[in-house]
Amino acid sequence: MADTTWLTLAPAFLLGLTGLLVLYVDSIGHSTKGPIAVLSLLGSLGVAGVAIALPDVLGLGPAGWSFVSVTLLAMFALALFVEPGSQNRRLIAGLSTAGAVGALGVAAAFLFTFDGEPVNPFGDALVVDGMSLFFAVIVASVTAMVTVASYNYIAEHSYQAEYYALVLLAATGMTLMASANSLVTVFVALELASLPSYALVAFLKENKGSVEAGLKYFLVGALSSAVFAYGVSLVYGATGSLQLTAVQNAVTGEFTGMLGMGVVMVVGGIAFKTASVPFHFWAPEAYEGAPAPISAFLSSASKAAGFVIAFRVFTEAFLQVSESAGEFLVLGADWVLVFQILAVVTMTLGNLAAVTQDKVKRMLAYSSVGHAGYVLMSLAALSGGGATATAKIEAGQFVLAGGMMHLFVYGFMNTGAFLFIALAEYWDVGRTFEDFTGLGRQAPVASVAMTVFMFSLAGLPPFGGFLSKYLLFGATVNSGFVWLAAVAIVNSAVSLYYYSKLVKALWFDERPDDKKPLEISSRPTGLYAAVIFAAVVTTAMYGVFGPVSDAAVEAAAALL
């Protein structure tokens, strides 16, 4: 019986293969397609023939072989649609969106039919469980919205296929981050997500802001990944293993100093990916300078992927549950305390900095730092909650699920908000709050959507952000961290100020006389579709919040 557990990684495979297919379409667009089409047909028939004759070659089994030959056949079929000598914009954007939506569908189907038994494809290096599928859903939905919106946004640019391929490959990395079960795969997946992101931020290569943003993102990213790698090497030195549960089992009284250093450095790598203090300062630059759909992608999907690593690494490798003493043993450094400090500093710094901004995109960037602070509470509040081990585990699951739900809702409301900025950049509206005045009358539908995102990000009912913040803050209080939840609530109140400042600019403020009047001549379909979809999901969260948060609680239950 051939091993087919790797099929559970289908969402990641779909995203990655679509990325490669996009490049393939582009390359045959540049050549005469005849020979390549014939070659792919012959190749797919050959592979199908091998599959029928010898199913066990290479250990792929019938499923694997049919997967390979279907892919090759699809490549042949695609070649028929390619127009030589053109960019094939429509085909490439459509293909990318289809790949992302397909990955979303598969991940959602796996998630809702998941039987609670984690699967370990490729040994113990990867794991597919409720949490990895949950985050695959988040990443794939953000990717789908971003590819749809990019169809209009990058219409005028060359290298479109490379753009979509990089987005899809970064999404593959993020999906794999959700499945990484060993510090090796964590590092490899992290880099697979980061390297395309650096290039994407600098995608507008004749725009100084974009290049500067790409440079800063790359410099901080390279530094933090080196710190992370060194931290991993120290953890390996202290325990002799890299697989997460093996690390946990191997922790002895020896080498505590080395393990502590390693844990702190791993926190550094994660802080970069989630845009938290102390590696947050790239975020405002990168989000402001990058093409707006890429800012949406990084601030939603990349952040979620960073957090899934944090959740898994810290609960699986650096936490032991002591039944007898009725408490959690935090291994290495006291990282729960570190996360408490980081959560408070991150959310306060993000929100206070957002208040003082006069550029809308930069305000959103700092608000994204603030939201990272809220989600950090789910690690910061892990050690509380009751006197017995069971009570602590239940409280811990609850607070982790709160963090996951916030990331889920955030994936829609924040992506939508940045895509509205993409729309404004498409219209060449300008960057400051004053430039946005009067947009409500010119583009009412998009402005209503933006109002929904702003109120939802602030955590006002009746939008999704209210529910997820309620769950997260409530769970924090439930764990006994009333002061932490109080800080978060004060911060939310502060955030309402700058979010409503934008709403006020959109609908109520008079346009200053020195600003040129708005001229909105076009309604880009892709951008509108993505923004409206995000707004609908953010609003309709009341209907689906129950089942989705059940999935989050189950996902958290697998960790503790």
Partner: protein, 101 residues
């Protein structure tokens, strides 16, 4: 004759700190890249040394992955530094400051 693992750890810490020092003091983007390479290779020294100490291959295999990733990272980095040079006519990190930090 085997060298004690502690010495490797000291060596790697020294290499790591050299890299960190370079990052904090140099403004040339290419020197920054070299410093990051030093830091990654410090991790490699650790991994290989501990791999020998524990007698398993995990660390060595991871060191190979790290090398490949470091190479990929430099490729992307040099690409970005190239467009930096085209836009700002220099590879000074502090020159690219049209947005404030």
């Amino acid at each position: 004759m085997a060298v004690d693992t502690t010495y490797y750890l000291i060596l790697s810490a020294a290499v790591f700190c050299t890299g960190l020092f370079g990052i904090l003091t140099r403004r040339n983007a290419l020197l920054f890249l070299m410093s990051v390479e030093l830091m990654l290779n410090a991790a490699n020294i650790n991994l290989v040394a501990f791999s020998q100490y524990y007698g398993n291959l995990t660390g060595q295999v991871f060191a190979l992955f790290t090398m490949a990733l470091a190479a990929a990272e430099v490729a992307v980095g040099i690409g970005i530094i190239l467009v930096l040079y085209r836009n700002f006519e220099d590879v000074d990190v502090a020159d690219a400051a049209t947005m404030r930090w």
